[in-house]
Structure formats: structure tokens, C-alpha cells
């Protein structure tokens, strides 16, 4: 996050990107500054200001702020307030921008032009960027930028946010601009009178004059929506789509996972035959290779999941899924607006919790934050995948359906159902007065996903994952290895050395608490570092079990090991635990930041702990009744 208060470039001019949601501000920002901020085809991707730098050919440096999209300068949610505060010079640690780049979606001037009029009233120097000018042209819209500039009294530059040369004209303009003699912004700004109606008349005049006042239908969207949003067919398509995604997570990943596993085994084999038996060899094989390798194996599955998420984001289908689910959300006291933050939480709860800033109703926002951690984040995928591979037979059900994929789908579903149930309970604690839920969500045009964006998104996911593996997961794995290896066992010890170590002792202590839900001491140890990052549970189990074998020279695969060591009841109980388990420390920190105190994170932590314990207890006891102990 660089919503930075960097003061290094204080002297260079500050430019701010302003525009309606989903008009392509971030795409332009990325083009101008060489950044790689997330772009997608729905309103509200950017929820905080981001800063970047543009160096012009002449060597001049400009600071550029990307702002959350706004429909007007009358803010209705937290993210829109950020935009207004920056433009009015009220943002903390930031000067008022020297120049406003007002981005208009050329295919929707009718709505976008009103913001340009409001921007002009700010008294700041302003340039209008006619973005998506290529799409407008393709749709048969002929916009003469010179005429538009004359009408608005502002310079107008066409841009294409998705084309490498799309901002060349803008760069040329900025190059030639006389930065020293920019008009000084008025210090007194009056935003109180409501100009909406008069502005709209002015927009109508301009559109009439430019012969753009005809409303063209969006034929492609209409045709697709007729199928995808059909009242009965639409929801069925949505469920089938999600179902197929989880099928693919298992069936497509087999090959690359085998390859990674083979590479790790080969390295371990090489090390054990070429290194003398020492603590260093144990650290390398039982600690690092077993631990990190155990997590790394799940990279293909994570990438497959994200491939589909990115595809949905780019296409414009996501807000439509929210439209389909709005009725369901309403019954539990939420609006479709909560859908996108909840969906982001499937990647990680933290961006999901940040995305709640676009929810205008504070109560809805809070409830969404509270239930977001129940959406299965990608860090939990390795845990699920490990347990499923070990305990769910890899067989085909009817119609070539993958049993393992079905179980994964059900686990995700359980999280969703749990979240909805909690929201429903919370609804009954809210007075009727606050139960007005706005939806007002824009449904954008469909876009064909661009391969470049898709690949970039996947690469970024890969980077994030590898950085976690090399960073926090690595550190915790080494720590756990140390705790599990020392102190050394007494000379006449019978069991595995780990049982005499610090970790072994701690695990046996914790096992008292977790015994009623079927967790053994090895699982109990692994849960502790898992608080820092979920995947660590997998690497920890790998390390603990690697050290648990009396003859600890072999690095054995975790999956066959646990499928022998645990009962099915224990495995199911652990799966239930992870559907609800209290989230990682960084999520707690994010909730504290977003809610401004410890109250909400503490409530969240305790209710999820109780829920997870209860779910595991019930699962375990039922499984025992079935004789799966």
C-alpha cells in the first residue's frame, strides 16, 4: 500500500486522476507511472489513493495520484470521501493537487460529463481525458475533442487506457505545459449548493450540440444478459460455473503438482546421499525441504483458482453475479454491495475487508467485515487440498465428476453458508431504522478478458505466494524445526526425539484442549504457527511428521503419512475447524485498522474461535458415531 506520505517529491507537481467508477483511471495510472495496480471490470476496484511517478522525456518528474472513482463530489461512502478530501486539499499529509486529470468514459459521456463540470468548479487547473476513445469509435460514436473542449472550456485529450501508446498525446501535452504559471487554485471552495440539475441541463446542451444525444443500445450486453441473467437459468449458470471452477482446481493441477513433488523428492534424495548425517542435514531435509516443499506443491491449484477469478473480474460478469445474489443477500440483511468485498476475500480477507470501504451503509460494512474471514481464502486452499488428497478417495462419480473437487466445493459452500447464517443472526440485533440497504450498483459492459492482464495477474499471484513461502513460511518453518529438535532427547529415549523437544511438550499441553475435537499433539503444534499464515499449518505438519519418525533420515511425503496416522474423524474435524478457524494475525490487524479499535477484531476472534470449536466438535462426534474413529 503506498497511500504514502512521501515528502521526497514535494517540489514536483501533483496530478490527481478523477473520474466515475470503472472509467479506466487505474489503467491510465498504470500506463503513466509504470505501476501494476489492480484493474478489473467493475466499479470500486480502487478504494484508496495510490501514488506513482511519471518522468517525462525532458526529465521532469510528476507525481500522480490515483483516486477511488466517484459519481459526484458529494461523497456517499468512505472511498468517495477520500477522493473529495484530496481534491479539496483536506487530505492529511498531502497538498492540494496542482492539476486534475478528469477521466471520462467516452462511451458514456452522458453521465461522465457532469463530473467534468463539477471538477471545473473546483477551481483547480483541469484537463479532460477522453478515455476508451477506441471503444467509442468502434461503437459508432464520433466525438470531436476540439468541439468538446470548446464547450467545456477545458483541454480535451483522447486516451486509450489499455493501449501502450494510449497516453502519448497526454505525455506530449504535459511536456509542453507551462508548470510555473499554472493558475493558482481558489482557496475557498463552495461545494454546498446542489448543481446536479443545472449541470444536467448543461450536459444535455453539450450532447445536443455535438450530436451525441442519441442513446445507443448495448447490443452485446443485452444479448448476453438475456441468458446470463435469465431469472431461473441465471442462478443455475452461476452455480454450475463455480462448481466447474473447483473441479478444475483438482483435475488440472495433477500434472504440475506431480512435477513439483518429484523435484523436491529428488533434491531431498540428493542431499541425504551427499551430506553427512548432521543437524544441518536435518534442518535442510526435515525443516526446509519438507516444510516449504509441502506448501509449494499447492501453487498450481492456487493459480488455477485465480485464473478463473481474474477471468470473471475482467469480463464484467462479477457485478451481474451480485445482481443474481442480491435477493439472497437481502434475506440475511445485506445488499449485493457486500458481494464484491466478500468475493475478494476468497483471495485473501485483507483486500476484501478493505473493499468494504465502498459500502455506504456503516452497519452493512461492519457486518461484511465480520463475516469476510469465513470466505475461504487462498491460504486455506493448501490445507484443504492436503486433507482432501489424504482422505477423500480420488474417484470419479457419475458423469465424470471428481469426488475430491466436489468435497472442495462443499467446503467453500460451508464457509458461505456459515457467513450468511451469522449475517442473518446479526440482522436481528439491528433496529429496523438501519435496515435500508442501498444497492445502486453499476453493471458495466462486457469486455473480452485480455491475455496480458490475465498473465500479469497470475504472475503477481505467483510472486505473492513465493514471497510468502520464502518469507514468513520459511522463517516459521525454521523456528518450528528448532523448537522441535531441541532440547535433544535423553540417551535412553524410546520415542521419536521430537517428543522430548519444546514443541513436543507444548503440543502435548495444547492437545488437552483439542482432544475433544479429535486433534492429536502434532496437529496442536501446527495450529500455533498457523496463526501467522494459514499455509504454515501444512509446512509445520510436514516438519513435525518428518521429525516424528524415529529414523529421521527419510523425507517422506506428508499425504500418505497422515492418511495412515489420522482417523477419518480427525481429518473431517480439522477440515471443519479450518472453515471457521480464527483468521491470521494480519487479518486481525487489518480489521483493527479499518474499524479503528480493538473491539471489532476481538469480537471477531472470539466468535470465530467458538464457532470453529463447535463445528469441529459436532463433526468429530458425528464421525465417531459413524464409526470413522
Amino acid at each position: 500500500m503506498n497511500s504514502s506520505k512521501i515528502h521526497f517529491y514535494e517540489s514536483s507537481p501533483l496530478l490527481a486522476l478523477l473520474g466515475n467508477p470503472n472509467c479506466g483511471k487505474t489503467a491510465l495510472f498504470n500506463l503513466l507511472t509504470g505501476s501494476r495496480q489492480k484493474v478489473a471490470n467493475y466499479a470500486g476496484v480502487t478504494v484508496e489513493r495510490k501514488e506513482g511517478r511519471l518522468t517525462l522525456a525532458s526529465g521532469k518528474t510528476l507525481r500522480i495520484l490515483d483516486l477511488p472513482g466517484a459519481y459526484s463530489l458529494y461523497p456517499r461512502s468512505l472511498d468517495e470521501r477520500v477522493t473529495c478530501n484530496v481534491l479539496l486539499g483536506r487530505a492529511e499529509g498531502e497538498k492540494r493537487p496542482d492539476l486534475v486529470l478528469c477521466v471520462l468514459n467516452a462511451t458514456n459521456l452522458r453521465r461522465n460529463l457532469r463530473l467534468a463540470l463539477a471538477a471545473k468548479r473546483l477551481g483547480l487547473p483541469c484537463i479532460v481525458l477522453l478515455n476508451m476513445s477506441d471503444v467509442a469509435k468502434r461503437n459508432g460514436l464520433k466525438i470531436h475533442s476540439a468541439d468538446l473542449a470548446a464547450e467545456l472550456g477545458l483541454p480535451v485529450i483522447p486516451t486509450i487506457g489499455v493501449n501502450a501508446h494510449g497516453v502519448d498525446d497526454l505525455k506530449r501535452y504535459l511536456e509542453e505545459l507551462d508548470w510555473r504559471n499554472l493558475p493558482v487554485a481558489a482557496t475557498q471552495i463552495d461545494t454546498r449548493p446542489n448543481y446536479t440539475a443545472t449541470d444536467n441541463q448543461r450536459v444535455q446542451q453539450i450532447l445536443d450540440k455535438l450530436a451525441l444525444n442519441e442513446v445507443l443500445p448495448d447490443a452485446l450486453a443485452d444479448r448476453l444478459d438475456r441468458i446470463l441473467l435469465q431469472p431461473i437459468l441465471g442462478p443455475i449458470i452461476l452455480v454450475v460455473l463455480l462448481f466447474l471452477i473447483f473441479q478444475a482446481v483438482f483435475s488440472w493441477a495433477t500434472m504440475p503438482m506431480e512435477a513439483i513433488k518429484w523435484a523436491i523428492d529428488a533434491t531431498a534424495g540428493f542431499l541425504s546421499s551427499h551430506m553427512p548425517d548432521s543437524w544441518l542435514r536435518s534442518l535442510l531435509i526435515n525443516g526446509i525441504l519438507a516444510g516449504l516443499g509441502g506448501v509449494l506443491v499447492f501453487l498450481p491449484q492456487i493459480l488455477i483458482l485465480f485464473f478463473f477469478i481474474l477471468l470473471l473480474e475482467e469480463s464484467g460478469y462479477l457485478p451481474r453475479a451480485a445482481f443474481l445474489l442480491d435477493r439472497l443477500m437481502a434475506t440475511v440483511g445485506l445488499s449485493g454491495r457486500s458481494f464484491i468485498p466478500l468475493l475478494s476475500s476468497f483471495a485473501c480477507a485483507i483486500p476484501g475487508i478493505m473493499a468494504t470501504r465502498s459500502i455506504s451503509n456503516p452497519r452493512d460494512r461492519l457486518v461484511t467485515i465480520l463475516i469476510a474471514p469465513m470466505m475461504t481464502c487462498s491460504a486455506r486452499l493448501p490445507v484443504y487440498a492436503l486433507l482432501i488428497s489424504a482422505f477423500i478417495p480420488n474417484q470419479k462419480l457419475w458423469a465424470g465428476l471428481d469426488f475430491q473437487g466436489l468435497v472442495l466445493f462443499l467446503l467453500y459452500l460451508m464457509g458461505i453458508v456459515g457467513a450468511m447464517a451469522v449475517a442473518w443472526i446479526l440482522k436481528h440485533f439491528t433496529s429496523k431504522q438501519f435496515q435500508v440497504h442501498a444497492l445502486m450498483m453499476e453493471l458495466p459492459s462486457y469486455h473480452l478478458p485480455r491475455l496480458g492482464n490475465l498473465m500479469l495477474g497470475l504472475w503477481q499471484r505467483c510472486e505473492i505466494f513465493l514471497r510468502r513461502v520464502g518469507g514468513i513460511i520459511f522463517i516459521l518453518t525454521v523456528c518450528l524445526w528448532v523448537l522441535s529438535s531441541f532440547p535433544a532427547p535423553p540417551p535412553n529415549a524410546i520415542g521419536a526425539p521430537i517428543e522430548y523437544s519444546f514443541a513436543g511438550m507444548l503440543g502435548k499441553l495444547l492437545a488437552v484442549l483439542f482432544q475433544p475435537i479429535g486433534f492429536n499433539w502434532q496437529i496442536s503444534i501446527a495450529l500455533v504457527p498457523g496463526l501467522a499464515a494459514r499455509e504454515v499449518v501444512v509446512s509445520s505438519l510436514a516438519t513435525v511428521y518428518a521429525l516424528s519418525t524415529v529414523n529421521n533420515n527419510t523425507s517422506e511425503a506428508l499425504i500418505p503419512l497422515i492418511s495412515q496416522a489420522w482417523s477419518l474423524a480427525t481429518a473431517l474435524s480439522l477440515l471443519a475447524w479450518f472453515v471457521f478457524a480464527p483468521q491470521c494475525l494480519s487479518t486481525i490487524a487489518a480489521v483493527k485498522r479499518e474499524t479503528g479499535g480493538w473491539k471489532i477484531p476481538l469480537i471477531m476472534l472470539s466468535y470465530l474461535f467458538v464457532l470453529a470449536y463447535l463445528a469441529s466438535f459436532v463433526t468429530y462426534q458425528i464421525a465417531l458415531l459413524f464409526g470413522w474413529g
Partner: protein, 82 residues
């Protein structure tokens, strides 16, 4: 005669917005609807309703929005002479 609101429109019929009413319990909704384009004179069409009639998919000018019935009820339609 009671004025017609957007939620009562048949699917596909093209009308124009007359005004947006502010609800007593949440007056800011009117401003928000105006911000996204529901302004007097603008062309409005209900594109579809979901299974239970809520939410609605509404085209306003050149944009498409999902609105809940409660929101659509606030938007009055200009009377078209028969």
C-alpha cells in the same frame, strides 16, 4: 392519480424521469440516485427483474444499474400523453 414509479414500468418500455423523491428515513438516497444519473428528462428503461421482482436491472441514459425495488420506487416517471 398516483404517479407511476420505475418499479411499476413494464419491461422494455422507454420512459423519462420526472423526479426523484427522498424517503423520510433515508433522505440521502435521492441525491445518490441523482448522482448516478436519475435526473429529470433522462431516458429510463427497466431491462429485467429477477425471480422475485427484486432487484431490477435499469438502463438510465447510457448506463445500466441494479436497483432494489425500494430504490426504484423513489423514481417518478413523466406522464406520457396517451
Amino acid at each position: 392519480m398516483k404517479p407511476i414509479t420505475v418499479n411499476q414500468l413494464p419491461i422494455g418500455s422507454v420512459s423519462r424521469v420526472e423526479r426523484v423523491n427522498a424517503p423520510s428515513n433515508k433522505p440521502e438516497l435521492a441525491q445518490q440516485l441523482e448522482d448516478i444519473g436519475f435526473l429529470p428528462g433522462e431516458q429510463v428503461t427497466v431491462l429485467r427483474r429477477s425471480l422475485l421482482g427484486d432487484p431490477l436491472m435499469v438502463r438510465i441514459g447510457t448506463s445500466t444499474f441494479a436497483l432494489r425495488r425500494a430504490e426504484a420506487q423513489l423514481i417518478e416517471i413523466a406522464n406520457i400523453p396517451q
